[in-house]
Amino acid sequence: MKLLRVGVKFCGNCNPHLDCPKLLEKLIQKAKDVHFVYWFQASFDVLLILSGCPVDCASRPDFNGPTVVVSGKMVDRVPVPENLLLDHILGAFERLKEG
């Protein structure tokens, strides 16, 4: 099974409605078929933007592929209960893998 390589970019966390570094830790633990890198470390298949609040001011690196955006308690602008955030993000990865 090919690992999905996800590049992570944080917003800077001046108004963290969500603890984004902790969310990433949980994603790493749960998503066994995903390899996470920071956006500046290596190439990646999917860009994951982790913004701590709905403003979502994280600047976007040059990348033309698919992007999943978490902004506060929203995934791709859809409000998600906090306890389901992980599942929604992983679901977005799955859909991207399926193509």
């Binding site: 944080f10 917003c11 800077g12 966390n13 001046c14 108004n15 984004c20 920071y38 001011c57 600047s59």
Partner: protein
């Protein structure tokens, strides 16, 4: 080395040959001195956070001079987004330090000089801007901390520099020669200067032809021959030799200010950015002041986040959190904090390019932000003290808490709700006490200029005649 770590920054300070006095003694090791170390720790956060992927979007930028990734504190703003990110960065760092981390002053000084030197060169045919660019590149490449050195001691406030009884009450030119210039005087309230690598000297006020010797802008290493720093006292600074009683033992209270004496200091021409062009002093002062006043809804917003959090926590510990008046006071504190922040974001979003290409804040809104800080911080802090209760001012010392005989009484009689330890209640009380009084409040009043300085700027930029015209039209008064 484009991005120093916090440890590398602290190590770099050990290599400086600073002359620092505090409390009547010469300080040989500023890094480990209890009066200074908390301010070093706070400044180190501006370095350390730049290496954390969670914060790098705010803490770093791409240099327009070299294309390299640099610490944002050495960046020249290239867009309104840069101006907004500056404010967000300041709030974020304040949330982690609860105090001033000092590095914004030099950040604002390089941005002010960058654009003003360009305009000077266009008008006068001088070559200051290229020198400023090279200096900024040097700062970026070495990730240096710069103290923004504007405020002169001023002496008799009713007199211009050239009419003072003592000519040294404003920094001035003593000599010009083939190699450079010699300056003398002093700079007051120098935030973070004893733990900075460089100081960027600027005039403190608009100047006339009689004052041209005072129109000096230049860069000087903080350990240059002839430079001497006298570290200022703060409220309760004897407590820096303990822990709990300080409130914020790791990062301290405000920036750690000093009086910096310049006793015939030589500056080579490469580091001179203004020399006798008195017509430009006012422009430089206004530009620096506006950038610096922009900051306060960011940094004080973040500091107030801590005060709000501390007030809500002490309410929990006191068992008063559910009282409606407590909830209302917390709500008011949040409202005031976000009011400050809104002003900083607004003056950044309304920023504009200068002829140099660097972006400048909206000066009217920037002055409004800082003017609000001179009032609203007092109200935020007053509410925090109201919520906390009088015991924050009457608590026994940490030594009494730890005392083998009387410690049990401190434990017993300063207990709040049963589920919280007395020590934790005392810790949060001390944090509130130290963050809401004394030096911390005065800094909100006078840092980045006293209230009257902002009022002068506000009315100057208020477009009052247009407002009068609008009123006359609605009132049916004929207007031209």
């Amino acid at each position: 080395m484009a991005l120093k770590t916090g440890a590398e920054y602290i190590e770099s300070l050990k290599g400086l040959n600073l002359t620092v006095y505090a409390n009547g003694e010469k300080i040989e090791n500023i890094v480990d001195h209890p009066l200074i170390r908390p301010h070093v720790n706070a400044a180190a956060m501006t370095y350390e956070l730049a290496h954390d992927p969670a914060f790098e979007d705010l803490m770093t930028a791409t240099s327009h001079l070299t294309g390299k990734k640099i610490n944002r504190f050495t960046h020249i703003h290239q867009s309104t987004d840069d101006l907004i990110k500056k404010v967000k960065m300041l709030r974020m760092i304040s949330q982690r330090t609860g105090t001033c981390y000092q590095r914004c002053v030099g950040f604002d000084a390089i941005n002010a000089l960058y654009s003003v030197s360009y305009e000077m060169d266009q008008k006068l045919g001088t070559d200051y801007h290229q020198k400023v660019r090279r200096y900024v590149e040097y700062l970026q490449e070495n990730d240096l901390m710069v103290a923004g050195s504007m405020t002169d001691p001023k002496g008799d406030r009713s007199l211009p520099p050239s009419k003072q009884a003592d000519p040294d009450l404003f920094v001035h030119l003593v000599e010009k020669n083939d190699e450079g210039i010699v300056i003398r005087g002093a700079k007051a309230h120098q935030t973070g200067i004893v733990n900075s690598h460089e100081m960027l000297i600027m005039p403190t006020t608009a100047l006339g032809p009689d004052d041209k010797a005072y129109a000096v802008a230049c860069a000087v290493p903080t350990d240059a021959p002839g430079v001497l720093h006298i570290f200022g006292r703060q409220t309760n600074d004897d407590r820096k030799f303990g822990e709990i009683d300080q409130g914020n033992a790791k990062f301290g209270i405000v920036g750690g200010e000093a009086l910096t004496v310049l006793e015939n200091v030589f500056v080579p021409w490469e580091r001179v950015f203004m020399c006798e062009e008195y017509e430009w002093a006012g422009t430089l002062v206004e530009r620096f002041a506006s950038y610096h006043r922009q900051n306060y809804g960011g940094c004080k917003g973040g500091v107030s986040d801590i005060v709000v959090g501390a007030a809500a926590t002490i309410a929990d510990y006191n068992g008063t959190a559910k009282a409606s008046h407590i909830k209302d006071k917390i709500t008011e504190m949040i409202h005031l904090t976000e009011t400050l922040y809104a002003g900083s974001i607004a003056c950044s979003a309304e920023g504009r390019p200068t002829p140099s290409g660097a972006y400048f804040v909206d000066p009217l809104l920037a002055n409004v932000v800082k003017h609000n800080v001179t009032r609203l911080i007092y109200e935020i802090d007053r509410l925090a003290q109201d919520i906390a209760g009088g015991f924050i001012a009457t608590l026994p010392s940490e030594k009494d808490l730890r005392h083998p005989e009387i410690g049990k009484y401190v434990e017993k009689y300063f207990k709040g709700v049963a589920s919280v330890s007395t020590e934790d209640r005392i810790r949060i009380a001390r944090l509130i006490e130290n963050m809401t009084g004394g030096t911390a409040l005065v800094e909100s009043m006078h840092g980045a200029g006293s209230p009257q300085a902002q009022r002068v700027s506000i009315v100057r930029q208020s477009n009052l005649e247009t407002k009068k015209r609008f009123a006359k039209i609605l009132a049916g008064i004929k207007v031209d």
